[in-house]
Symmetry: C2
Subunit: 227 residues, 2 copies
Amino acid sequence: MENFRLSDQDRATLQFKVTTKLRELILKGEFKMGERLTQEEWAKNLGVSRMPIREALRQLEVEGLVRIEPRRGAIVTPISAEDVEEIYQLRALLEGQAVLKSLPFLDDEDINELERLYEKMIALKEDEKDMEEYMELNAQFHHILREGCPWRRIKGFIDTLWKGIPSYTPSVLSHHLKEAHEEHRLMVEYAKQKNGEKLKEVTENHILRTRDNLLKMIEKSEKIDVE
Amino acid sequence: MENFRLSDQDRATLQFKVTTKLRELILKGEFKMGERLTQEEWAKNLGVSRMPIREALRQLEVEGLVRIEPRRGAIVTPISAEDVEEIYQLRALLEGQAVLKSLPFLDDEDINELERLYEKMIALKEDEKDMEEYMELNAQFHHILREGCPWRRIKGFIDTLWKGIPSYTPSVLSHHLKEAHEEHRLMVEYAKQKNGEKLKEVTENHILRTRDNLLKMIEKSEKIDVE
DNA sequence: TATTATATTTTATACTAGATATAAAAGAGT
DNA sequence: ACTCTTTTATATCTAGTATAAAATATAATA
């Protein structure tokens, strides 16, 4: 009983739920490229009025998942390999900077939490159930690292990028686990040493390597689709 | 008659106008720190219903100008020196990357437009009226430079940062004009040469130097306020 | 009397639903 | 094939209702 962090504030508003639901559907690939998302249709589908849908769409526009044209509506713009490249390269750029600014503000409690999460991650098995858990722990790990950063905007941008990351199958993930574990270990190490520059460096490399692994996987799976 | 660029798409919706208006008011410092912005009050003030206000606030939240607490409403969070530091440092980071990715996609027409804008800027006088013109030309100049970049998200982030920049008095600006002119000249030069790395470098330095000038000015003006 | 707890009123947001305006599509006429 | 009109679909806006938080008043206890 030590973690009081709210999962995402207690945003129990309808608008928040609708945003989460639609984001999930888009990232799962439930919409075709360029498909139009009509407000009334989805209001019916989700059993709410049109306004929460409207507001959700406006937020998803900022996240880059839909494009809104005035008086024309929302057009879904799903994720391509180019998007993965963009998201991860920007994450490297921004999270590198964020952890550097964050580190001086992290206390012993935070560092302990990092280590605890690291231990949990290396203890996981590589089956489907545990990979979901891994995703969650990994997100928490990175979140704590940047949390101390006093810059509001950079944290907002990074959160947006995280929300735009499609969820990948366990097989994709398990391939990069060994490397990821070692990088995470180094990150904890440098955080303990309060070595900001080194922490920034390994964070950037960690994210860029993840990008390379994902792109390789996507390339492979696209080839299989064609055959 | 060669410039068909729409000022910001022809977003003639009420919601767009309201967002623009409220953003302007916040950046002008018309609200006190932490002041609550009630929907109904501003609906009356602007002569519209509450919904366009709601949507505007949600967008301004993403831009970091207000904070929305569920069932409590919008709280204005104005700009501090720390914010200026953050905005310009992030602009350097992101615009540097964006122009690098953009340059290969810029055609001769774009480069000519850059040069034309540069010529216009150096021809301006340093009085108030012309400084407003300078701000506009400068924004267009930077916009064209990054426009070719195929990454949606980075351009969205940069646009957000630009929207959050408070407008400064001519006296602040005129102090850095000579340096800015020289940097802009170099940027045109490197763009012509298709030298992406150099362009990135000078763009970053240009923005960071602007940051330093602004911070010095803010420091000075804050001292005057205290006396 | 002061102070805490509880009930009531007030205020503002979140939501629903209906009216309006606008843009794309279909159809009629040249 | 092209322009103009009509239709239809759908986003945008207004207005009214419900609900939650905050403020105030009332009661109870030390």
